[in-house]
Symmetry: C2
């Protein structure tokens, strides 16, 4: 199988007029669609994680509108990002997906599940928080200082995505080396993308306790995961998601921060695979007309 | 040290006119006060857990108003139970406590923390849920059938407080043997206590999303714990508490149900001790005028 490091970038035009850059690998009927973090493009998915996930299923990764190699203007709301992601999926001709949303990608995943639940089979929320949670109105000053500046640098990434321990920093350096060693890299994300995405983060983070109740309408099985010391989206928001989504499990990974899924890529890929395997067999059982497992 | 199994029952009269049955053991300045579960009296605290906790600190256990050996009428609201617990603590002359609330005792603990925060240093919530959470309006039919009948029996207790596994059921039998082998047992709880406590459970469980926001006002450090397969108070409510209380940690114990704290008494006592030790040293540090640890 092609490694994600060599997986070519393709494009598809959607009904909304945008041309989306995407990559796909692996085989399967219901693809796992990945939704990327703040300022990340296609390259910022660490290849060992993607390869481990693609060993068992079809994966679809894309730059949302205005991000990296995709055309258009990055929207300033998570809701519009969700509508755009749906437009991309419609253009790809997929009718059912599993979602893995990472950081602001987890916000988009929740929004998609609420806007078009029929599209979504199961959801992985990584380094996630619900809309309206108190204390989420913008990243902490040391976080936005580290990853929000005009010219992003490796030190800022390492400070937010990895814990201060030697082991975590070493894992972070390895991730960065893989991200930056790609032969045909994606287009870097723009300052406009940074600004509009952060506008969307702020709107998502306006404290509004009533909005938390939306989570009760996410009926899909959900796996919530984070590093135990994420400074960008605190682990308590993972508990909040798991407490309000009716059918959710939660796991915090040790000595890890925002990028726990890259640091613990083997363990996380195995956990995701176990979760998606269970979720799809449950759904097949429910859907099988004679009640037997399909 | 006296084991809890031989610890004598004493009484104290409170300003509200009630005569409270209580037991105390261990030494220390700030006592850990235990708040009991639905229909439980003083005997329903499994001695090995109590002995392990009392090895390092002063413990106070009591029957709340109308329960077991205490006089008066069991209140029909958690709020009144909290006021009565405060009256008992006032009668005992304690000015600061740690709380360990188990099941409906965890409801009372939250209410005390909100009514009189200055009294409470740190809180352990075992098999717990917040007021107003959806899905908590009464126990599930199989649970109330098992533990709500007029004459409680060991099988009902084993079905709710322990998981179906052989190991958990064996632990449950051992707990029951210890509970029922006391030489001078407490007065059994009455049918009126059962009815009024269940009225209070129903009121606590009226779904009201807005009420969940109360938890943001619990500023004490909180340790939330439950068995991973509690049928009475689902583990997701532990996540909900940990997601909404600003300073909370959470742990689910494996292959365990409502009575996880008896089944895993050694591990749970060690976790509680680590939590309370950390909480008290933090508070001492904050209170020390020169900023050094007291």
């Amino acid at each position: 199988m092609t490694s994600y490091a060599e997986c070519p970038t393709k494009t598809v035009g959607a009904a909304n007029g945008a041309e989306y850059a995407y990559r796909e690998l692996g085989d399967g009927t219901v693809p796992l669609v990945l939704l990327q973090h703040f300022r990340g493009n296609l390259d910022y998915w660490d290849p060992p994680l993607i390869d481990a996930l693609a060993a068992r299923r079809r994966l679809v990764l894309f730059d949302n509108t205005g991000v990296g190699g995709s055309s258009g203007t990055t929207p300033s709301t998570i809701a519009q990002m969700a509508h755009d992601a749906i437009a991309f999926l419609d253009a790809m001709g997929v009718e059912e997906v599993d979602l893995l949303g990472f950081s602001i990608g987890s916000f988009v995943a929740q929004e998609i599940a609420l806007i078009r639940p029929a599209l979504v089979r199961a959801i992985v929320l990584a380094s996630a928080a619900p809309k309206g949670a108190a204390g989420m109105h913008g990243w902490a000053p040391e976080v936005i200082d580290a990853v929000g500046k005009r010219e992003p640098d490796p030190n800022g990434y390492l400070r937010v995505f990895f814990s201060p321990s030697e082991a975590s920093q070493r894992a972070g350096l390895a991730t960065l080396q893989r991200i930056f060693s790609r032969a045909d890299p994606d287009v870097p994300t723009s300052w406009e993308t940074r600004q509009h995405q952060y506008d969307a983060v702020l709107e998502w983070g306006e404290p509004n306790h009533a909005l938390l109740q939306r989570l009760s309408a996410i009926t899909q099985p959900v796996f919530v995961a984070n590093g135990d010391s994420d400074p960008m989206i605190l682990p308590r928001y993972s508990y909040l998601l798991a407490g309000l989504i009716p059918n959710a499990s939660v796991k915090l990974y040790p000595d890890a921060a925002h990028g726990f899924l890259f640091q613990h890529h083997e363990e996380f890929a195995a956990d995701v695979e176990a979760f998606l395997g269970k979720s799809s067999s449950t759904r097949d059982q429910i859907n099988a007309p004679d009640g037997r497992s399909a």
